[in-house]
């Protein structure tokens, strides 16, 4: 500690080490948060439902998505990425997962929302399995923290069924 430069170096090293420690503690403090998110999705209308010339089923639907994800936000949360996926089983694949809508929630104030939309991404099956198919709509989210560990979870909403006939 005998010179200006040596003291400045020691201070900077120690300050940055403590800062890293504080960030780690901030990340750990996220574990004390027990979120209680809720989501509700209604399929208002099947706009059209058809078989493409290449044999794959495609469906277009109108969705009403409402969710309250405010409890996911803590002081260490930068943003939350959320997406709605249709999930169903076919003889070939035990889990088919098709993203229909997604969004980025930048703050807690925007975390309680209500959206009326047709599917943002195309709902196309790999094959022709969608007629009368029972499927889940699952809301997935990834909590992106300012520092540290990222959290992910989902809400599964079962009991949706596609029409038996093309329209």
């Amino acid at each position: 500690m005998h010179s200006f430069g040596y003291r400045a170096n020691a201070l900077l090293t120690f300050a940055v080490t403590i800062l890293a420690l504080m960030c780690a503690m901030a990340s750990l403090s996220d574990n004390f948060n027990s979120p209680t998110p809720s989501a509700l999705v209604q399929v208002l209308n099947i706009n059209w439902f058809q078989k493409q010339p290449n044999g794959n089923d495609e469906v277009s639907m109108t969705l009403n998505i409402s969710a309250d994800l405010q409890s996911l936000f803590t002081w260490n949360t930068k943003q939350v990425f959320v997406f709605l996926a249709a999930e169903y089983e076919t003889p070939k694949n035990s889990l088919n997962q098709i993203s229909l809508w997604d969004g980025i929630i930048p703050s807690k104030e925007h975390a309680k929302f209500w959206i009326h939309t047709s599917n943002k991404y195309r709902f196309i099956d790999q094959g022709s399995n969608l007629r009368g198919k029972e499927y889940n709509l699952t809301m997935h989210w990834h909590v992106m923290p300012k520092t540290g560990k990222m959290f992910a979870d989902k809400i599964v909403m079962p009991g949706y069924r596609l029409p038996v006939e093309y329209r």
Binding site: M1, H2, A10, F14, A26, T74, W75, K146
Partner: protein, 98 residues
């Protein structure tokens, strides 16, 4: 030179002050950030703490130099010369070489 350098006790004080202040500001910053649910507030308070600590402990302030080392006067040192054993060793080796 002695006037421009921090003395021994000053160096110890500067290091301890630096560590204690940084830790204290870190605790204050973390607690207030957590309570106010503001990460930004934590970083801001800590940044202020680091700047304050830098200003207090990096420059060589006068209060770090209250314990100057008192060296012997040169005339006093000359009265007690250091023993020089190396001189005897070289003298003994010279006859061997001849």
């Amino acid at each position: 030179m002695a006037q421009y350098r921090m003395d021994w006790q000053g160096q110890k004080l500067a290091e301890q002050l630096m560590q204690i202040m940084l830790l204290a500001f870190a605790v204050i910053a973390f607690v207030s950030g957590y309570v106010m649910a503001s990460f930004k507030m934590m970083v801001l308070i800590y940044a202020v703490g680091v700047v304050l600590t830098t200003l207090l402990t990096v420059p060589n302030w006068p209060f770090y130099n209250r314990h100057a080392l008192i060296w012997l006067d040169p005339s006093e040192a000359e009265k007690h010369p250091k023993p020089q054993p190396s001189a005897n060793v070289t003298q003994k080796k010279k006859p061997v070489k001849k």
